[in-house]
Amino acid sequence: MALPDPNTVPLRPGFASRLLNWSTWVVLVGLFVVSLQQTGFDVEALTSGSQDFVRFFRRLVPDWTALPQIWRPLLETLQIAYLATLLGTLLGLPLIFLASYNTTVNGPVMWVARSVLTVLRSIPDLLYAAILAPILAPGPLPGVVALTIFTMAVLAKLASETVESIDPGPLEALRAVGAGRNRVIVYAVLPQIAATMTSFVLYIFEINVRASVVIGYVGAGGVGFLLLRYLNFFDWGGVAALIVVIFAVVLLIDLLSVWARSRLI
């Protein structure tokens, strides 16, 4: 094969693609400037606030006498996350297979399942909790429902992509045996996705633990509720103790989950 002539200049990309390149940058920079202005982002305010910042942190000395008050809501937070992960997984399981082209019943059913998932996913969990808390009375229940919906929607989306990428051979073999749809799923699909699914569920549990702290803030029970109360009463010692405890627990669960997931695949 002949070497390319070093004197030939490579062809420039066409005018259209160059224009596209330029306009992309113009749009990105334009959005940046507009966002800066309209949010009132101000570096001066950031630095001038630094003294307040320091003063605030000086007050953030953990008051460990608050600990006995913290345990119960903390446990409640973990229970909310655990329940929601479990319920969401169970409720999401059928949706996974209805939303995957290789295990669904038929085209329209798949379309409906996917649409339901898209709608559920497009609403943030905090919004679910905020809407549900006044309806179901503030407490852990709206938290559980909100995170169950979140778990269902996210798991079904992630897992159905896994289902669609499995080896189709065993599915064909099981169909050839004369097995119905459910038996094909149990024998040919589940063994292939079990490890990945478990990993997803653990990951979603991690997210749920963090989320259940936040949603307590809008009245959905758990440790967020307590945080709100401490803040309202300017109980900085309690706030500090709570933050440290939450940090430690979330970190611990993350580490455990990462370790468990690393052993799966």
């Binding site: 080896d167 051979g169 065993p170 064909e172 073999a173 099981l174 169909r175 050839a176 045996v177 004369g178 097995a179 119905g180 459910n182 038996r183 149990v186 024998y187 040919a188 063994p191 292939q192 079990a194 490890a195």
Partner: protein, 259 residues
């Protein structure tokens, strides 16, 4: 004697317009061991899959003992399928499951759906699954994971799974194409012996001429979606094969499998 499997002017057009079968008519009597040969893309795999309706003909009809499998649906179709064993080029085992569970999957068409879902097979079915593994010569592998087995052993599990269905028909789609030549012959010998013992009507797709001649009662040659040869192994001369493949046979080339 009436035919066990009959193809009546079967046509298959895949989405996208590819015509894989262009009108195949064929009768296979009970107990016959038929080998189908032809180049890749000749329609062998498609033909075999119309027998258990994994591929649905766009025209024509396939019947088993006179009953149309093409028009069967739902439970009726699943019942017909449970009478048809099938083995595959890539074995199609569930790799993460045990060998025994793979073989038991062959019983799924017959056991109660709920029992099947929960994995609560009747004791007789479990015993029969072990039996099938003995028949293919690997009884000791029952509790090994399927992906821990060699290729030849995996295809034997495939045969055991099909056998566990207690079928009357056996389909084999390129069963030895992923195996080395000595293993290929061993697996084909087992397949032939077992289908003979069970008096199964057998359709096998094969690439290799010498294997086709050695094992077939009858050879069907396919080319471009049509049957171009139909005769006994003796009638399948080199000339006949050259017509099927549409090119001269070079002894040193890949159409032959060394033993």
């Amino acid at each position: 004697m009436s035919a066990h499997i009959s193809f009546h002017d079967v046509e298959v057009t895949y989405p996208g317009g590819l015509k894989a079968l262009k009108g195949v008519t064929l009768d296979v009597p009970r107990g016959e061991f038929v080998v189908i040969v032809g180049l890749s893309g000749a329609g062998k795999s498609t033909l075999i899959r119309t027998v258990n309706n994994l591929v649905v003909p766009s025209r024509g009809d396939v019947t088993i003992d006179g009953a149309s499998v093409t028009r069967a649906q739902g439970t009726a179709l699943r019942q017909m399928r449970s009478d048809i064993g099938m083995i595959f080029q890539t074995f199609n085992l569930v790799k993460r499951s045990s060998v025994l569970r793979n073989v038991l999957a062959g019983r799924l068409g017959d056991v109660h759906p709920l029992r099947g879902l929960l994995g609560l097979f009747p004791r007789a079915d479990v015993a029969y699954a072990h039996d099938c593994l003995s028949r293919v010569g690997i009884p000791e592998k029952a509790f090994a994971r399927a992906d821990a087995l060699s290729g030849g052993q995996q295809q034997r599990v495939g045969i055991a799974r099909a056998l566990a269905q207690k079928p009357s028909i056996m389909l084999a789609d390129e069963p030895v194409a992923s195996l080395d030549p000595p293993t290929s012959h061993a697996v084909l010998r087992d397949l032939k012996r077992i289908t003979r013992e069970e008096a199964l009507t057998t359709l096998v797709n094969l690439h290799f001429i010498d294997m086709a001649r050695e094992y077939a009662d009858r050879i069907i040659g396919m080319r471009d979606g049509l049957i171009v040869f139909d005769g006994s192994a003796d009638q399948a001369t080199d000339q006949a094969f050259e017509d099927i493949y549409g090119r001269p046979i070079d002894e040193s080339k890949d159409l032959r499998g060394a033993s």
